[in-house]
């Protein structure tokens, strides 16, 4: 257990809409317990929501790993959302506004990047996609 009393690591398998919703609630809960303000909690949970919905929409199943990060001066949260779905053929295009190959808005990834301090995306067509996001608590 961490100094804040929250579990440091949560792994959520994503197979259904209920799994996705639980994962988002978990993200929000962790952000709250880590001392993020309402806007910070919202940012982290909404970013996780965008990513896990992409997993269900395009890969059908995947996994989210939520982790508490500690730095000397502050706390942060990390989410690793990964799947073995079709992957993204052109990441540069996916990161532009308003492109989508599916039923979504095509806004999720650039918007998610804007909300986070760190955003890393690795995708291999035919092998899957992994997105890592981090948000640090403001001091």
């Amino acid at each position: 257990m961490s100094p804040t009393g929250i579990t440091e690591l949560e792994i959520a398998e994503l197979r259904s809409q209920d799994d996705a919703t639980r994962c988002v609630l978990l993200a929000q809960h962790m952000a709250k317990r880590a001392g993020f303000d309402a806007v910070g909690q919202n940012r982290f949970a909404t970013a996780v929501s965008e990513l896990v919905q992409n997993v269900l929409r395009y890969a059908e199943r995947g996994r989210a790993t939520l982790r508490l990060l500690q730095r000397a001066d502050t706390l942060g949260l990390e989410a690793i959302v990964e799947d073995r779905g079709p992957g993204i053929a052109d990441v540069a295009i996916a990161m532009q506004e308003r492109t989508s190959t599916g039923g979504g808005l095509g806004l999720g990834l650039p918007g998610t990047r804007r909300m986070m301090d760190d955003f890393e995306l690795v995708s291999t067509p035919g092998a899957g996609t992994r997105v890592i996001i981090r948000l640090w608590r403001r001091r």
Binding site: R22, N42, P110
Partner: protein
């Protein structure tokens, strides 16, 4: 963590000729679609002045959730009913702006009271 109400249904209440739907803290695409069906089914009712979608309890709203609400509002407008989304919290609004969704796609109000005032002063 209580997740027992995840697949629940939003109950609709009528207040001064206005349908009020109070959305729960956690949204799912299914819940929003069921809400749309229920609101559209109730929309033709006589003496109806409008529909309020109260999202003050909603903690997380992603772009897809917001678009779904906007689509429901558009469908009601096509039927001649005004829809106001009220109670958007600062955290939700901040994320919607970051997500670059069209936040002006739907009429909004600070809370249920101001939404009722809007409906009583502006005819659909």
């Amino acid at each position: 963590m209580n997740v027992s109400d995840l697949s629940g249904r939003v109950s609709l209440q009528q207040l001064q000729g206005v349908i009020v739907a109070a959305l729960p803290s956690a949204l799912t695409p299914e819940l929003l679609l069921q809400l749309r069906r229920d609101v559209l089914a109730a929309a033709p009712g006589a003496e109806l002045r409008g529909v309020l979608l109260d999202v003050s309890a909603v903690e997380v709203m992603d772009a897809q959730d917001f678009r779904s609400l906007c689509d429901t509002a558009s469908m009601c407008r096509v039927m001649g009913r005004r829809v106001i989304v009220c109670g958007l919290t600062p955290g939700v609004v901040s994320c919607l702006v970051d997500l670059n969704v069209n936040v002006y796609a739907v009429h909004t109000a600070l809370d249920v009271d101001s939404a009722l005032v809007q409906l009583s002063t502006v005819r659909s």
